[in-house]
């Protein structure tokens, strides 16, 4: 049985197949409207989420399937002290596939070791968020027409931002990608990303602290939110949260075909004044999230249409 815990669980071929399937779904939605009839997706969200949970639920509904689950740990048996392993074994009796978000890193990994049904990691603390990565890859593929030979800037919270870690790991397997890491020193990418992804694979990267010095080089900029819940200390959060804001002035320095991505939700790191700029892809990206999750559910359930 296949699970999706880390974006690198999938081979490049498997990722390409999922993205191709997502594009086929986009082109012919009716064909897939009953593909998961009588199947159930359980969304176990031990931590609040709007976009990810709703996009999973919308994805299953558009496949003709049903959805059950909970949206916070308070409304599950976790509040009574049940272990995550027991919750997963129990829910596996009721659902065909589980999407799980958990504040603790590795909870979906452990769940996959005890589960009778496929587990999808819908975000585990600051660690991994592979379905966001698939969303990002589909967005890049649709916006750029390729997944290789470009320069991508990753901006903001690169230390705790799980979407950034997952995306770097996934993209590292494609050729000719240059990485520009834009963050304050306090929020630089963890050392293991540098040593085990960039240096080990001889990948071209650089770390900078301002957006202005690199805007003109980028084909893609991936903006991230500085997340309050990832800080142990509120004073550090307040000091750093407004450091990197993409606005009209900074966009003047950018290429005409820049693609601006953001996993959302944004706070103020992207000015709303650029939302109508054709280079702003983040709402198209949110829509891609639903389609790629449809493709993933079909793949993990082994459903072919």
């Amino acid at each position: 049985m296949k699970h999706l815990i880390d974006s690198t669980d999938l081979t490049v071929e498997e990722i390409d197949d999922i993205l191709d399937l997502a594009i086929d779904i986009i082109n012919d939605k009716d064909k897939y409207s009953e593909a998961c009839k009588r199947k159930k997706l359980a969304t176990l969200f031990f931590e609040p989420s709007t976009r990810t949970r709703l996009s999973f639920e919308a994805a299953m509904m558009e496949l003709g399937g049903n959805v059950l689950g909970f949206s916070s740990a308070d409304s599950s048996s976790t509040a009574k002290g049940e272990s995550v392993g027991d919750t997963v074994r129990t829910v596996g009796c009721y659902a065909d596939i589980i999407a799980m978000r958990h504040p603790k890193e590795g909870a979906p990994m452990f769940s996959s070791m005890v589960s009778e049904v496929p587990i999808i990691n819908a975000g585990d603390g600051g660690h991994n968020h592979p379905t966001q990565t698939l969303t990002d890859l589909l967005t890049i593929k649709r916006e750029k027409g390729r997944l290789n030979n470009f320069t991508i800037g990753l901006c903001g919270d690169l230390k705790f931002g799980r979407t950034v870690h997952s995306l770097i790991k996934a993209l590292s397997r494609y050729e000719g990608i240059k990485y520009v890491l834009i963050s304050p020193n306090e929020l630089k990418v963890p050392d293991y990303i540098i040593t085990e992804v960039f240096e080990k694979n001889n990948i071209d990267y650089k770390e900078v602290t301002t957006m202005e010095e690199v805007m003109g080089e980028l084909d893609i900029i991936y903006m991230t939110r500085v997340q309050k819940e990832r800080f142990f200390n509120e004073a550090d959060y307040v000091r750093l949260k407004d450091t990197y804001i993409l606005d009209k002035d900074k966009l003047k320095l950018a290429k005409d075909d820049l693609s601006i991505l953001h996993p959302l939700p944004r706070v103020n790191e992207i000015s709303t004044t650029i939302d109508d700029d054709p280079r702003a892809c983040y709402f198209r990206q949110a829509l891609n999230g639903k389609y790629v999750r449809m493709a993933l559910i079909l793949t993990l359930l082994g459903v072919t249409v």
Partner: protein
């Protein structure tokens, strides 16, 4: 000081001087009901000085724990006063319940029954990574 030679049991030799008690505790040798010799700062031509542990009973030694503590330790199995086998140690590829993950964000920090598992990711630098949260050990 007189140390009896072993008739049946195990000798752990070439332990880094001063580490014998660490090995003793990590292998949980205090649970055994046999005589155990702990020799510290024994003169050694190779190491200058070393520690030795002599366990006077047959014992299924956890080579993963031992290899993780120090892969240079030599393990000799003694039967009827003769060395019948010398085991070579290596850094284990996987550690199960040998060490605990110290990342406060890891699932193992809140769920008591999850086995603590680490995979060896960098042999030269002895880097082990938690399979759940991928934090270094």
């Amino acid at each position: 000081m007189k140390i009896e030679s072993i008739q049946n049991g195990i000798v752990l030799d070439h332990i880094t001087a001063g580490k014998a008690l660490t090995v003793y505790h990590d292998l949980k040798l205090d649970k055994l009901d046999c005589s155990i010799g702990i020799l510290q700062n024994v003169r050694s031509s190779k190491m200058g000085k070393k520690d030795i542990l002599k366990i006077h009973q047959e014992y299924d030694v956890n080579l993963d724990v031992l290899g993780y503590i120090d892969p240079n330790i030599t393990v000799s199995i003694i039967k009827d006063g003769q060395t019948i086998e010398k085991k070579k140690l290596a850094l284990p590829k996987r550690l199960v319940n040998v060490k605990k993950c110290k990342n406060p964000r890891c699932i193992t920090s809140v769920e008591q029954d999850i086995p603590h598992i680490f995979n060896l990711t960098d042999e030269a630098n002895r880097v082990y990574r938690c399979i759940y949260c991928e934090a270094d050990k």
